[in-house]
């Protein structure tokens, strides 16, 4: 039974954790920009963390559930509503057949994730359901969602929390009385500080550039998307010209083209590049970066590789904690 798209929003795509194993073939990873919000949305509806969700950007879509559905919305707060009534984020929500999910103004953040229990019954392309826009593959027909799309859903396993089961006859929606505590997830800040380690070509940059990257403010310009964030602020330069040989790049690589404005590579980045890489955003801060709206100001903070990996591990431990907490909440009636 499908999910009907009534309005597509600004850019709504189907994404999972990404298409790994094919970068050596020039195939980009894609996948959710805010991987943590994506994983939590799936955890809340009892799906595997790598199941696909809908990633909506700034202006959310309007969609109709043709059958009852257990859903969860996480990530940036784009003011989700069901049948015109505000619904809670970061918790399981049970939407009745015929109910309409829509979004109002973006309050905080940039990208929101809609997980539906059971997931989308769409084919995997190269072992992933992620939409690869430029090559037109994966996701729903290889493109962003459009008005009139009918996205088929899998028959979900019974993961409906006990407290919602008691109210299944509700005509609009019901939601759990609990939600994840805000300290368990990232809440967007006005001017976020993004932590980064040195990039492979850090030492080739001028002394001024090596100071500016950590001390100056950078604006995420309007020319920013799932491929990369183009920054403006201090212009950065090498201490002397260098011919670089193209090599692999990754999500969070901060590269600097000749004109000096840095670009942060995001989820849809190309697999290889030849620009000098001044820094690399730590994996634990990529979700934070994914939630920065174009036009906003960010700063970078230097950390060591060891700190970055400790933060990575802490983030995983935090997700384990969330998993355990949600499992306990949904499997026991209080």
């Amino acid at each position: 039974m499908p999910l009907e798209i009534l309005k597509p929003g600004l850019l709504s795509t189907i994404q999972d954790l990404g298409r790994y194993g094919y970068q050596k073939d020039g195939i980009i990873v894609s996948g959710a920009m805010d991987v943590v919000a994506h994983r939590i949305a799936n955890i809340l509806v009892g799906s595997p963390e790598d199941a696909a969700t809908i990633e909506a950007t700034l202006i959310g879509p309007t969609l109709r559930f043709t059958t009852p559905a257990l859903i969860a919305i996480t990530g940036g707060n784009l003011s989700p509503e069901i049948n015109g009534e505000a619904m809670g984020m970061w918790r399981p929500v049970y939407a009745a057949a015929g109910s309409i999910l829509s979004f109002q103004k973006p309050v905080t953040g940039c990208r929101t994730y809609v997980a539906v229990a059971g997931g989308f019954a769409i084919p995997e392309v190269l072992k992933s359901q992620s939409t690869y826009l430029r090559a037109g593959l994966g996701g729903y027909q290889g493109r962003a969602l459009q008005t009139g799309d009918l996205i088929p859903l899998n028959e979900p396993a019974d993961t409906i929390p006990e407290e919602l089961k008691l109210q299944q006859n509700h005509t609009s929606f019901t939601q759990t009385t609990w939600a994840l505590a805000p300290q368990l997830y990232y809440t967007s800040e006005e001017q976020p500080t993004i932590r980064a380690v040195h990039g492979p070509e850090y030492d080739l940059f001028s002394e001024t550039s090596k100071t500016d990257i950590w001390e100056k403010e950078f604006q995420v310009t309007m020319q920013s998307d799932r491929m990369g964030y183009r920054l403006s602020g201090a212009t950065l330069a090498l201490s002397e010209p260098a011919e670089l040989i193209s090599s692999a790049v990754t999500f969070g690589t901060i590269q600097v083209p000749a004109e000096g404005n840095p670009i942060i590579l995001m989820a849809d980045h190309q697999t290889t590049g030849g620009y000098p890489r001044i820094a690399q955003v730590i994996t634990a801060d990529l979700p934070k970066l994914a939630q920065v709206q174009p036009g906003k100001i960010i700063r970078f903070q230097e950390v060591t590789l060891e700190q970055a990996q400790q933060l990575y591990i802490q983030q995983e431990l935090n997700i384990q904690k969330i998993k355990w907490a949600v499992h306990n909440k949904t499997h026991h009636t209080s």
């Binding site: 790994y20 194993g21 094919y22 970068q23 050596k24 073939d25 020039g26 195939i27 980009i28 392309v125 190269l126 430029r134 090559a135 593959l137 380690v197 990039g199 492979p200 040989i245 193209s246 090599s247 692999a248 790049v249 990754t250 969070g252 690589t253 190309q270 697999t271 290889t272 890489r277 690399q280 955003v281 730590i282 994996t283 590789l305 060891e306 970055a308 990996q309 990575y312 591990i313 995983e316 431990l317």
Partner: protein, 244 residues
């Protein structure tokens, strides 16, 4: 020579989830052979926590999951993967088996509507179009890297006599299969995309097939040769493809 290469051999991190092994600082078939040997070894001997790897001109970048590698936070992930890669490098060197693949033949219909810039390249290089085709199809090319677009090969070995600059204004649409020249490089557009290369021909075969288990026809380390074909042959190959 060996001495010089060793000086450039180095490992360095690319953020908290990847390590780069660099074999040298110049583009050469010898250095790329080492890239290929290491990538082959890694392909056959994946370690727990390995996500994937990307061979390029002089490097192999190894992506790993620090959480899985760290055994849930008990081991330093960078040091552990570095250790694994170092011991793999030694085993790669012990392995004297050389990689020999057949040269992949890429049929190309040169000129006409498939190669609208062949005349320009000929005029620029002061050669006849026939000579441009001759030089382009005479040599064997080494695939150094797949990048820029899915299945797009970076090829080494083009004769400098047919080098030509990029177009000043890139085309907004270049059909898949187009064969082009930009500077000292030649390549095959794997998907329909905008681009600024001088187009000299088109191949009827698909170098990118997302429905196949190996989606890219070419891999780093392969060698290829362009075979000139007529428009009739081109159309025939296209029809055969549609039929199968």
């Amino acid at each position: 020579m060996k001495q010089k290469d060793m000086r450039f051999l180095q490992f360095y991190p690319l953020g908290d989830s990847a390590i780069v092994l660099q074999f040298g600082a110049i583009i050469s078939p010898e250095i790329h052979h080492k890239v290929r040997a290491f990538a082959n070894y890694l392909q056959k001997h994946p370690f727990p926590g390995l996500v994937e790897f990307v061979p390029a001109f002089t490097t192999v970048t190894v992506y790993y999951n620090p959480w899985l590698v760290s055994e849930k936070g008990n081991v330093d992930p960078y040091e552990k993967v570095l250790g694994i890669m170092k011991s793999m490098l030694i085993k790669t060197k012990e392995n004297t088996e050389t990689y020999k693949a057949d040269t992949i033949k890429i049929p190309v219909c040169y000129g006409g509507s498939f190669g609208p810039d062949l005349e320009f390249v000929a005029a620029y290089t002061k050669l006849t179009p026939e000579k441009v085709i001759y030089y382009h199809s005479k040599v064997t090319y080494l695939v150094y890297m797949i990048g820029f677009a899915p299945g797009f090969p970076y090829l080494g070995g083009m004769n400098k006599k047919i080098a030509a600059p990029r177009k000043e204004t890139p085309r907004s649409v270049i059909p898949a299969g187009s064969v082009g020249i930009a500077g000292n490089q030649t390549g095959i557009y794997s998907i329909e995309t905008p681009g600024g290369w001088q187009l000299i021909g088109r191949t009827p075969i698909s170098v990118f097939n997302p429905q196949q288990e190996n989606p890219s026809l070419l891999r780093a380390g392969d060698t290829i040769r362009f075979i000139p074909i007529t428009e009739q042959e081109y159309n025939l190959r296209k029809e055969q493809q549609h039929a199968s």
